[in-house]
Each structure stands twice: as structure tokens, then as C-alpha cells.
């Protein structure tokens, strides 16, 4: 009995921590959704592009770890700058659908650029954190939990707190929330949309880099990272597209549910339900709570 409970705990905690990795990816989506009211299809490509550049700087140019990370982050700011100037600004008055299509195109451009610059082979990323159980926890709590999962959890927590403080207590955060509510009204009182867009896309780029590091360390830096973006979709549907806490909780729920279902119900379906179980959950949310758990309710006065 105790063993079973311990096993369940292990599955659950492992799932929750793995979920924070989804949260990290989802965070990037939320940032852009808040400012542009559009689902950024290029977020997956941004993850791939940023982490490949990071690994490329280290392996091809022998740049030390920290410096390479800073360079990659700066590169993402440049990507944000170019996106604002060459994609968003010309589409300023276009419909949200048009911007959505543009993000798909942007995704292909980033994928192509990344592969043209750094090649197509899978690269190893060593963060110096092993993807194996932490001995101390295994000895004392009898739980086998990966050090990488714990790191991802801590990193996600730090990023969330940072972004929360940025939005709630800074001037630019207030500007961003104002733009998210009504871009036209925001511009009528002199909030420069340009700066807000630039900030948001750069922040999403840096978040993509962090998410890419975590996933790259686990699965190798490869093209498949692009498809990670799709896993963020159920996370966002559950958490709410416009909510940062939602992205986190959504990620945790998806992570936990898919692992628990995989272990306990998976065998009845012949396994591998991890892949689709989150989408089934997402469909239930779409039916019964379309704004997600934490999404901003569409407020209508009557």
C-alpha cells in the first residue's frame, strides 16, 4: 500500500514538474496573446531558433556558456525588433486573422534561418544538470525525481514571479495591460504601441530560449522542438490564453494528468495515451469553460 502510494506520488510529482516545461513554452504564447490578441504560431520556431543559436554559439564558436546565453538572448531581442518592424508594423491595421497567418510565415522563416545557419543535425545540450533522479530525494523521500525537472520547476517559478511583478508594478507593464485591453484607446492617450510590441516579442523570445534550454537538455536540440508548440495549445485552452498564472497551472495540469493517465489507464488503451489525453481534456474545457481557468472573462455590461 505504502509502495503504491509512493509510486503514485512519484508519477504525480514527475508529471507536475514535467508540466512546468509545458508552462514555460505556454508563457511565450500568453505574452504575445496579451499584446497582439493573436496566437503566435511561430513560438515553437522561436524556441528552436533560440536554443539552436545558443548551442551553436557554444559548440561552433567555443563561446563560454554564460556569454553564449546572453548572445542568444540578445539575438532574440533582435528577432523581436525585426518582427515588430517588418511584420507587425505593416500589418498594424490588418485583422487578427491576418496577423495569425503572418506568424505562421514567420515560423517558417525562423526554422529555415536556424537550419541554414547551424545545420540540421541533432545537437546535444549539456546544462550540467543531469536528467536522472536526485540521490538525496531518492534516499530520504523514496521518490525518484529528475534533477532537470526540479530545475525546470524552479526556473519557471522565477520567470513567472518576474513577469508578474513586471506587469503589475511597472509603468511598461501597465502600458502592456492597457494595450491588451484596447489598443486604440491606449494609443489615444499616448502609449506607443511600437515599444510595447517590441518589449513583448523580445520577452517572448527570451522565454522561448529558456524553454528551449530545458527541452533541449532533455530531448536534444532538434527540429522536433518546433512541435512542442502544439503541446502548449491544450495548456493554453485549460489555463486561458491571456493569463500568466493560467499558463503555469495549465502546464501543471497537463503534465500531471498525462503522466497519471498514462500509467494507470494507458495499459487499457495499449499505452501511449500521453500524446492525445491532453487534447481530450482541452475539448472538455472548450465545451464547458471556453475562457479557461484563469482567462480574462469577456466582460459585457447589460
Amino acid at each position: 500500500m505504502v509502495d503504491e502510494l509512493l509510486f503514485f506520488m512519484e508519477v504525480l510529482v514527475g508529471g507536475l514538474l514535467a508540466g512546468t516545461m509545458y508552462s514555460l513554452v505556454a508563457l511565450g504564447f500568453v505574452l504575445i496573446f496579451k499584446a497582439s490578441a493573436t496566437f503566435n504560431f511561430s513560438q515553437g520556431a522561436m524556441v528552436f531558433f533560440s536554443v539552436l543559436a545558443f548551442v551553436g554559439f557554444m559548440q561552433d564558436f567555443n563561446i563560454p556558456f554564460v556569454l553564449a546565453f546572453i548572445l542568444a538572448a540578445l539575438l532574440m531581442v533582435v528577432v523581436g525588433l525585426c518582427t515588430e518592424r517588418f511584420v507587425l508594423r505593416p500589418l498594424m491595421n490588418a485583422s487578427e486573422d491576418t496577423v495569425l497567418m503572418a506568424t505562421i510565415g514567420l515560423g517558417y522563416v525562423l526554422e529555415g534561418l536556424a537550419q541554414a545557419a547551424w545545420g540540421v543535425e541533432v545537437r546535444r545540450l549539456d546544462l550540467g544538470i543531469g536528467d536522472f533522479p536526485v540521490p538525496w530525494i531518492a534516499d530520504n523521500l523514496k521518490l525518484f525525481i529528475s534533477a532537470l525537472d526540479i530545475t525546470a520547476g524552479v526556473v519557471a517559478a522565477i520567470m513567472i514571479i518576474g513577469l508578474f511583478l513586471l506587469f503589475k508594478y511597472t509603468k511598461i507593464g501597465l502600458g502592456l495591460r492597457a494595450v491588451a485591453d484596447d489598443a486604440g484607446a491606449a494609443s489615444s492617450i499616448g502609449i506607443p504601441l511600437k515599444h510595447i510590441m517590441l518589449l513583448v516579442w523580445s520577452a517572448a523570445g527570451v522565454v522561448a530560449l529558456v524553454a528551449g534550454c530545458m527541452w533541449g537538455a532533455r530531448a536534444g536540440v532538434q527540429f522536433a522542438l518546433v512541435d512542442l508548440a502544439l503541446k502548449a495549445l491544450p495548456v493554453l485552452i485549460i489555463g486561458g490564453f491571456s493569463s500568466i498564472p493560467g499558463a503555469i497551472i495549465g502546464g501543471l495540469i497537463i503534465g500531471a494528468v498525462e503522466k497519471v493517465l498514462e500509467v494507470y489507464i494507458g495499459p487499457f488503451f495499449g499505452g501511449a495515451i500521453e500524446g492525445w489525453a491532453p487534447y481530450v481534456l482541452a475539448i472538455f474545457f472548450l465545451l464547458y469553460r471556453p475562457e479557461g481557468l484563469f482567462g480574462e472573462k469577456i466582460i459585457r455590461r447589460v
Binding site: R177, A178, A186, S188, I299
Partner: protein
């Protein structure tokens, strides 16, 4: 009116949307420094378009000033964008209030100071000053703006604009959909801001009577043209204005063009 005392001087502007739809044919108007000027007309007459041409918000709706000039505070606004205009002291309060619904009342108002470099203390000081005009908002400062009443939302929108410390306010239908008592309250505040803060005001209204009673000068536009202008007093006592805009109707005449046609006919008869 001496030209040098005008804070805003619009000369014969023509505005098109999407390069094809002609919204304004020929509009000229002046706003003297420190005065309240009313821009009157029915739906679709071109009031909002005129205001957006001035605040340069037209561009975001694919509109363009294709002829004529607009001078604000002595300089052309041709190359400006909305945030630069706010920097120059011209703020527009858009039609339909447009509050930031998910922000609190106070956050909405503070957002108005975005273009100014103020310390936290300065912002609080400004905020207290604004609250002296909008007492009702102070009570509701912690509520989410989306849950406040229509009148309160209009006050939020004006208070927010005032935080940018404007020299000139453009108000687009500030009393739309409000009960008469609130209409009076809003206009009282507008007058007070005009007198105590010295803000020049150009306001677009359909509510001709109340607007003229609270203005110094008025322009009446119809299908993109200025049909009549004059001091508020003269417009209020003008027979045609009375008939067409104040609902004191005679025959089946619908607009100024009909009136002018009739006048021409009578003139011809006399000749």
C-alpha cells in the same frame, strides 16, 4: 478672431478612407485658445472623422487627409503620430469611452500619464488633483472599470485624458447614451476643466441643445461639409438650427441643403 490666438486651425480639409470613400469634403474650423467649440451634426456627418484627423488617429483606420491643412499650436500636424500629438498636449477622448475594462479605475487614470515622465509621488499628486474634479471616481477607484456605469466610464475616459496634462481635449460624443442628469454632470466637469485648467476643447455632439449651452462657438456639419457656424448664442437663436437640430419643426425640411434650396428659390422669386 485673431489667427494667432487659435490653438487649432483647420483649413479646407478633405478626408478619404481606403483611398476611395470621401468622408469630409471641405471642413474648416478654428478653436480659439481656452475656448469650448462644439462640432454638431447627425450620425455620419463627419464629426468623428474631423476629430480623428486632428489627433492623427485616422491612419489607424486607413483614413487620410487628402487636401487642406491642420495647424495645432502654430505648427502643422501632418507628420505627427498619435503618441507625438499627446506629447504636444493634444488628447482625444474616443467615442464610446473605451476604458481599459480589466484595469481598475485608478489604473485607467494612471495609464493616462504614460506619456509623461513622472515619479510615483508626482503621479499621486496629479491623481489627487484629478479626483477633485471627479469625486465619484475616487470612491470607485479600486473597482474594475468594466463594472462601472456608463457615466462613470465617461468620467474615467476624460480623467485619463487629463492625466496627460493636455492643452487641448478632443471629446467625441461624451454624452452618448447617458441619462439627462449625467449629461449635465459631464458637461459641468468639462466646463470646470476648461475654466480652471485652461484646457481648450473641441467636442463633437449630437446633443445640440446641451452642447451649445456649454460652448462658446459652434459648427454644424452635414455630409462632410460645414453648413453653418457662429457663436453658441447666435446658433441657439437661429431659426434653422431650432428647426433642424432642436426639434422645433415646421414643414418637411430635413437638412440644410433643403433650407438653402428653398431660400434660393425665394430669392429668385423676389428678383
Amino acid at each position: 478672431m485673431n489667427t494667432s490666438t487659435n490653438i487649432l486651425d483647420i483649413k479646407n480639409i478633405e478626408v478619404t478612407y481606403d483611398n476611395v470613400i470621401l468622408a469630409l469634403h471641405d471642413v474648416s474650423l478654428k478653436v480659439p485658445k481656452g475656448k469650448v467649440v462644439a462640432l454638431l451634426g447627425a450620425n455620419g456627418a463627419g464629426k468623428s472623422t474631423t476629430l480623428k484627423a486632428v489627433s492623427t488617429m485616422l491612419a489607424s483606420e486607413r483614413g487620410k487627409v487628402t487636401k487642406g491643412t491642420i495647424e495645432y499650436d502654430g505648427t502643422s500636424i501632418e507628420k505627427q503620430n498619435p503618441s507625438q500629438m499627446v506629447g504636444l498636449g493634444m488628447v482625444q477622448v474616443l467615442e464610446g469611452r473605451r476604458c481599459f475594462g480589466h484595469l481598475t479605475v485608478e489604473e485607467n487614470i494612471i495609464a493616462g500619464a504614460y506619456s509623461r515622465k513622472l515619479s510615483k509621488g508626482d503621479i499621486n499628486q496629479e491623481l489627487e488633483k484629478i479626483y477633485t474634479y471627479f469625486i465619484r471616481l475616487k470612491e470607485r477607484r479600486k473597482s474594475q472599470a468594466a463594472f462601472t456605469s456608463g457615466g462613470e466610464q465617461q468620467m474615467i475616459a476624460v480623467a485619463r485624458a487629463m492625466m496627460a496634462k493636455p492643452k487641448m481635449l478632443l471629446l467625441d460624443e461624451p454624452t452618448m447614451g447617458l441619462a439627462p442628469q449625467l449629461v449635465a454632470e459631464i458637461f459641468n466637469i468639462v466646463k470646470e476643466l476648461n475654466q480652471k485648467e485652461g484646457v481648450s476643447i473641441l467636442l463633437a455632439e449630437q446633443n445640440t441643445n446641451v452642447a451649445l449651452k456649454n460652448s462658446d462657438y459652434g459648427y454644424i456639419i452635414e455630409t462632410g461639409r460645414v453648413m453653418l457656424d457662429g457663436t453658441a448664442q447666435s446658433l441657439l437663436s437661429n431659426d434653422q438650427v431650432k428647426e433642424l437640430y432642436l426639434g422645433i419643426s415646421k414643414k418637411g425640411r430635413k437638412n440644410f441643403r433643403d433650407v438653402l434650396k428653398e431660400e434660393n428659390l425665394t430669392k429668385k422669386k423676389i428678383n
